[in-house]
């Protein structure tokens, strides 16, 4: 199956008063139609910035290198005018914080009809009807009346569902969701995950779920990309990652998921903090937090290909 989105050697750096920050240091991955990919990592691991770069939405002090080929066209090399044909149309992004991602000064209707009117050429009335249907699909009660309301008149959960409805309006081929459920309580989280899953199956839409919570990924995604300090440290299917994690960082993440089925002991946490991205240590970036570090870790490890889509950036995998 040919990839819908091929990302090669994607790099993002920020020019800050404290020097250059390398937020993303060369990541590669493919996304196939209908596939659901989870990108997991701590805050600061570069997971959000990587996708903002693909969408051409980096902050002004950020710059990106590498390629992101969508149907073979490199998004990174496009002018913003060309990029606008894809953004919100066949690639949609849902943002982390539903409180601030909606414009508080405009009605939901205004914010929902603009995209479809622009990309799909719908008239105002059609676009409104379409938006009302989409709100109904995400279970906003009484959508025909509520669509005229302003963001602050909705609860947090409803706002998040509205942003998801907005992302789905133009039936994108890729939906990128950045921590879409972090702000919500657990029952609502599950319902939204199911909703997005339904839409994805129906329209063969690929989804990217960006999250810090490995536990939230389990029943939802096909494949996982674990990121640490701007690099991919491990990839594999959800099953593989959960059953036999290879990289010590992934293992640490799994151990730090609270479990109800074991009475044994305290909650595990990975000791220490992620490295400073403007002043990275030599060697393996995880070395200082790793309980299995050895001599070889003074050299930065490559991403060892373990076959069948699995890879781990750890010297323990070194076959030689």
């Amino acid at each position: 199956m040919s990839a819908l989105l091929e990302v090669r050697d994607l790099q993002v750096r920020f020019d800050t008063p404290d020097g250059d920050v390398e937020a993303v240091r060369g990541i590669d991955f493919d996304l196939s139609p209908g596939e659901s990919l989870a990108v997991v990592g701590e805050s600061g691991s570069g997971k959000t910035q990587a996708f903002l770069a693909i969408m051409g939405l980096l902050a002004e002090n950020g710059s990106a290198n590498g390629q992101a080929r969508f149907h073979g066209e490199d998004l990174m090399a496009m002018s913003s005018r060309d990029l606008n044909r894809h953004r919100g149309h066949d690639i949609a992004m849902i943002f982390q914080d539903p409180m601030s991602a909606l414009n508080p000064y405009l009605s939901i209707e205004k914010q929902m009809i603009d995209g479809p009117m622009h990309h799909l050429g719908l008239g105002r009335a059609e676009a409104r009807a379409h938006a009302v249907e989409m709100l109904r699909a995400v279970r906003i009660p009484d959508p025909d009346e509520r669509i005229g309301h302003y963001p602050h008149q909705f609860s947090g959960g409803m706002r998040q569902r509205i942003t998801i409805a907005m992302g789905l309006l133009c039936e994108p081929e890729i939906l990128i969701a950045d921590e879409p459920t972090t702000a919500l309580d657990v029952t609502v989280q599950a319902r939204i995950a199911r909703l997005v899953g339904d839409v994805a199956r129906r329209s063969h839409m690929a989804t990217v779920l960006i999250t810090h919570d490995l536990g939230a990924v389990a029943g939802v995604c096909d494949r996982i990309l674990v990121m640490y300090a701007g690099q991919v440290v491990e990839t594999g299917t959800v099953r593989e990652i959960f059953d036999s994690p290879r990289h010590p960082y992934t293992r640490g993440l799994l151990d730090s998921i609270p479990r109800l089925d074991r009475i044994d002991d305290t909650l595990h946490a990975i000791p220490g903090n992620p490295p400073n991205l403007s002043d990275l240590p030599g060697g393996c970036v995880f070395r200082e937090r790793c309980d299995r570090a050895f001599d070889a870790c003074a050299e930065p490890p490559p991403l060892f290909d373990l076959g069948e889509g699995r890879a781990s950036r750890c010297h323990l995998e070194d076959p030689s």
């Binding site: 939405l57 919100g88 949609a92 601030s100 414009n103 000064y105 995209g115 622009h118 602050h152």
Partner: protein, 314 residues
Amino acid sequence: MSAETGVMRHAGRRLLGLVPTLLILITIVFFMMRVAPGGPFDAEKALPPDIQANLEARYHLDEPLIQQYFRYLGQVLRFDFGPSFQYRDWTVNELIAQGFPVSLTIGGLALVLSLLVGVSVGVLAALRQNRPTDYTVMGFAMLGISIPNFVVAPVLILLLAVYAGWLPAGGWEGGWTRLVLPVITLALPVIAYIARLTRGSMIEVLHSNFIRAARAKGLPGRQVIFGYALKPALLPVVSWLGPAAAGLVTGSVVVERIFAIPGLGSYFVQGALNRDYTLVMGVVVFYGFLIIVLNFIVDLLYVWMNPRVRYGEG
């Protein structure tokens, strides 16, 4: 609570607040005028005592001060500011009716000009942040704010009226050209301030998450700026319009004098110099009323533009 009743109740509360504010204003100005040395009928050559007494009786100046104060309050309640002490045969109401349309014309034009130019260059500077356009606009804005209008006016007159001869130097006769210099003089600091306000809030809004989200929708840049960013960016400007209107009113006092325009400001200055008690009082109360009403309108505008205030939080 529906939106309409919310706004109406808000409006009603504000209108009630107008009464005590005006009362305090009248009281302070009334007694300050009396404390100031000199009186309306002082002249180089002293009047014969019985004429002086006649005049004072005619204008009730012989009554105890407190009685005059309440007499005046009573008049104001009937919207009667009394006769002018200096412009014989004119009532203060007539003078205001004559001067205000003139002041309103240049003040209103200056406000419209300030908004158009100030917002446009402010947005432009924000979009070109930290680039030459931005520095140029902000440099001029700094000048506009810091140079007082009594300096700007003579310089403009000298350059455009005296040397170039394009525009009349002053006066209120003739075509639209007579408006150009006073309106520009009046508008310059307001343009400068609005440009700075607009730039600052526009930059802040452009960095907000909802603008990034709007960009993610793939809308053209123009639509993002004007459809999504301009309204929130204008809120600080709108809330500053009340004080701006007050600034235009007080600014017009100076500008009208310089350009010899027969507006309310000219009467005000003349009245203060002449100890024309009723004229000064009348103009002050009228200005006070005007500023409060303008602030009130600005408030309603703000509420109308900001849905979170309109419907109450939560």
